[in-house]
Symmetry: C2
Subunit: 184 residues, 2 copies
DNA sequence: ATTCATCTTGTACGAACGTACAAGTACGAT
DNA sequence: ATCGTACTTGTACGTTCGTACAAGATGAAT
């Protein structure tokens, strides 16, 4: 009375992408160390074998999930650059962008998960550097290279604080601190 | 020709402590998610059963390891307070302390591992807050509460950058940035 | 010297893991 | 229409996991 369930329409590219997305979500919820083939397959609604068919090892699967997260981050960075370009005040615009960024803590959690993983695994370091090099690059035209790096570090510290304490962002304080680092 | 190996001298307190230290080291090397009873037991040179005798569950064992890490961090914080008290220049003293702190990246890795774990598990949050509340408290007498928080965030971001890029600390740049945030 | 609670040690067990693979199905090429 | 490659799906295997527990050893109390 059973038999296997009928096969779905074939779409290898979509499967790869769906697995990467599902992996990203599992990492965000459980962490890199507790990410398993089975959890990813369940999240994606795909059979276990699909994960190993498209990604030879678990490390490959995790790397694909992190890479997808970084791709989304790059999209965000591009939007940040766009918004800053048309902003009358860089400090206030950055504060606003941070407010939005912290609206969904899952993305921030994922990014820091990536950083911790990159601190341990050299192969992941280029992924983690997308943010840490990209943001100062965006800021450099407005405040110079040194202040760009400083402000990036400040924001990273603020994000960490928000992750750990679940507290609200002190927007006016952040704007003021950015202004001090920018030297304006 | 065999038989079990002879029992060692009894010292429950020392065993608890040794297990906490071993757990801390395993977390630093493998991450919270890949920390297992067996890895901790092997690191401590104790039988597997010792881990479950002193800590009912794996979560308890991990919490003990993280708590021990935070205890060491608190000791560091006390030393930071002491050093700042007798320093002619707060910004330069902080830069020097950061240089020393980043000398052994394992401690920094462990601290960020704790932060990421605390972001996911509310029960760990008080542990992670020891640093994020303690450092601003130390800085407050010198630069005020707001600048203390800002400088703490800046330092946290710098540490994250150092973890991800393995780059050297830009000491003069850091001193200058601290001065700007302090408003001096 | 005997007792007993406490600690040590080795082993056992079911669950979950990474990975491999057989069997079946879809679909472009012919 | 058929064929062959590429994909889908379910299951199997050996390993490692968290946890439980039996059996022995210790050492303070009696």
């Amino acid at each position: 009375m059973t038999g296997r369930r009928p096969q779905r329409a074939r779409d290898p590219e979509a499967r790869r992408a769906a697995l990467a997305v599902a992996t990203m979500e599992v990492i965000a919820e459980a962490g890199v160390g507790r990410t398993t083939h089975r959890a990813v397959a369940a999240k994606a609604g795909l059979p276990l074998g699909a994960t190993t068919y498209y990604f030879p090892t678990l490390d490959d699967l995790i790397a694909a999930g992190l890479r997808h997260a970084v791709d989304m981050l790059q999209t965000d960075l591009d939007e940040w650059a766009e918004r800053l370009r048309s902003a009358p005040d860089v400090a206030e615009a950055l504060t606003g962008l941070m407010c939005e960024y912290l609206g969904d803590r899952r993305q921030a959690r994922l990014e820091y998960e990536l950083c911790v993983a990159a601190a341990r695994d050299e192969a992941l370091r280029p992924l983690a550097e997308v943010w840490m090099r990209g943001l100062p690059e965006i800021l450099e035209p407005y405040v110079g290279a040194a202040a760009g790096r400083d402000i990036c570090a400040l924001l990273d510290g603020i994000i960490l604080l928000a992750l750990v304490t679940e507290s609200e962002l002190d927007a006016p304080g952040l704007t003021a601190a950015i202004r001090r680092l920018a030297g304006t």
